[in-house]
């Protein structure tokens, strides 16, 4: 399972979006606002879940702003941090 697929599973399970399937989550769709419709507290939960499942810490707002644009950008962020 690649990072993006794992992320989609985590979002569905941990953020309780059970009415969605992983296939319905587009890799480029925005995570917040009009895209998946996640809210600001979901961002906090996502920070926690990324650390829990991947051991990667999103340390500040700038990193979050970059990583939280979409599944693709979050996946890239995680892979870069693991590789570093």
């Amino acid at each position: 399972m690649n990072t993006n697929d794992k992320l989609k599973d985590i979002i569905i399970e941990e953020l309780n979006l059970e009415d969605l399937t992983p296939e319905e989550i587009e890799d480029d769709a925005p995570l917040f606002g009009d895209g998946l419709g996640l809210d600001s507290l979901d961002a906090v939960e996502l920070v926690v879940q990324v650390q829990k499942h991947f051991g990667v810490e999103i340390k500040n707002m700038e990193e979050g702003r970059f990583a939280f644009r979409s599944i693709n950008s979050l996946g890239d962020f995680i892979e870069e941090r693991i590789a570093a």
Binding site: E14, L15, N16, F32, D39, S40, L41, D42, A43, V44, E45, V47, V48, K52, I58, K59, N60, M61, G64, R65, F68
Partner: protein
């Protein structure tokens, strides 16, 4: 005190406003009185100003009744009118005191801190904490007295257009001694808040008022009826693994305030997304707030119906 339910539905309209009641000129008259005569002439002017609002602006009186009718259920007219006057007058005094501290200096107000040892112990650990405050007493006088804390302090602060009241640090033009986090910023400022907590800094937030854009609240019994309270501070504390320090201030003399650390709440990590997991912790805070309003009934300053049931609310998850 029974926690009731979790909702993640935005409020349909803004429930409260920070817009000033008076005009800019009115505020400057008070600032002038304070500058040239101290707080006493400003208090004296307050008697007439509050009298005017009580008699000629019934909407102001109406705004006090939501809380007062629940706090003093047995009261009838004219006692209710007197309560409303007292509550409005207390708010006026707090605003005058805040301006006094800003214009004449914090030494004009004596402040006693109860729980200093607990606070110093937390500060020594350098692990950061959430300072959970409420719209009671004067949180600004309280903050001005906490300047001994030698770690960065961040303040979640929303300001509306039309609010002429200055914060105490704005009178001197030296800028805020605290870093202000704007809840209207990226993702409601949550990532900034998480960042400062992880860095071991202090984050000051209000726990008793759900803002217009806030989606995350739980209903908890307060003064005999369910009211809505935000749980975002509790979620942040859980994510950053820091304690929550519940902190109240109250005016206890003509020129003095007391600050009290009421309790320290520790929220476990990985509680999950739903508000229901945070209910027990929000309830602990509300219990402390209820004790506060029993002791200081006229120093609670939420002038809107916080008990109003939200229409068309739905449970996104429970």
């Amino acid at each position: 005190m029974q926690p009731i339910e979790d909702n993640r539905q935005p409020f349909q309209r803004r429930e409260w406003t920070s817009r000033s009641l008076g005009t800019r000129l009115g505020h400057h008259i008070f600032y002038g009185l304070i500058r040239f005569g101290g707080r006493r002439p400003a208090y004296f002017a307050l008697y007439f100003v509050v009298f005017y609002y009580m008699f000629f602006r019934p909407s102001i009186r109406r705004r006090t009744k939501y809380y007062l009718h629940r706090r003093f259920q047995e009261r009838k007219l004219p006692a209710r009118f007197v309560d409303s006057y007292r509550m409005s007058f207390e708010l006026g005094k707090v605003l005058v005191d805040r301006a006094t501290v800003g214009i004449l200096g914090s030494e004009k107000m004596k402040v006693t801190l109860y729980g200093r040892k607990k606070l110093l112990k937390l500060l020594d650990r350098r692990c950061g904490f959430v300072l959970l405050m409420s719209h009671v007493g004067s949180w600004q006088v309280a903050l001005s007295a906490l300047s001994f804390m030698d770690i960065p302090v961040n303040l979640l602060l929303e300001r509306e257009q039309g609010n002429f009241d200055r914060h105490y640090f704005e009178y001197t033009g030296t800028g805020s001694p605290y870093r202000i986090i704007d809840p209207g910023g990226y993702l409601g400022g949550t990532l900034e808040m998480l960042e400062v907590l992880k860095k071991g800094e202090v984050l000051c937030v209000m726990g008793d008022r759900v803002s217009g854009s806030q989606k995350s609240f739980v209903n908890v019994e307060f003064l005999g009826e369910e009211a809505s309270f935000p749980y975002s501070a509790f979620k942040l504390a859980s994510a950053a693994r820091v304690p929550i320090v519940v902190f109240f201030s109250y005016k206890n003399g003509p020129d003095s305030y007391a600050l009290k650390i009421s309790k320290i709440i520790r929220v476990p990590k990985n509680l999950g997304r739903s508000g229901k997991y945070f209910l027990p912790f929000v309830s602990q805070y509300i219990e402390a707030l209820e004790s506060y309003v029993q002791m200081h009934p006229y120093q609670f300053f939420n002038f809107y119906n916080m008990w109003e049931k939200k229409k068309d609310e739905y449970k996104r998850q429970t």
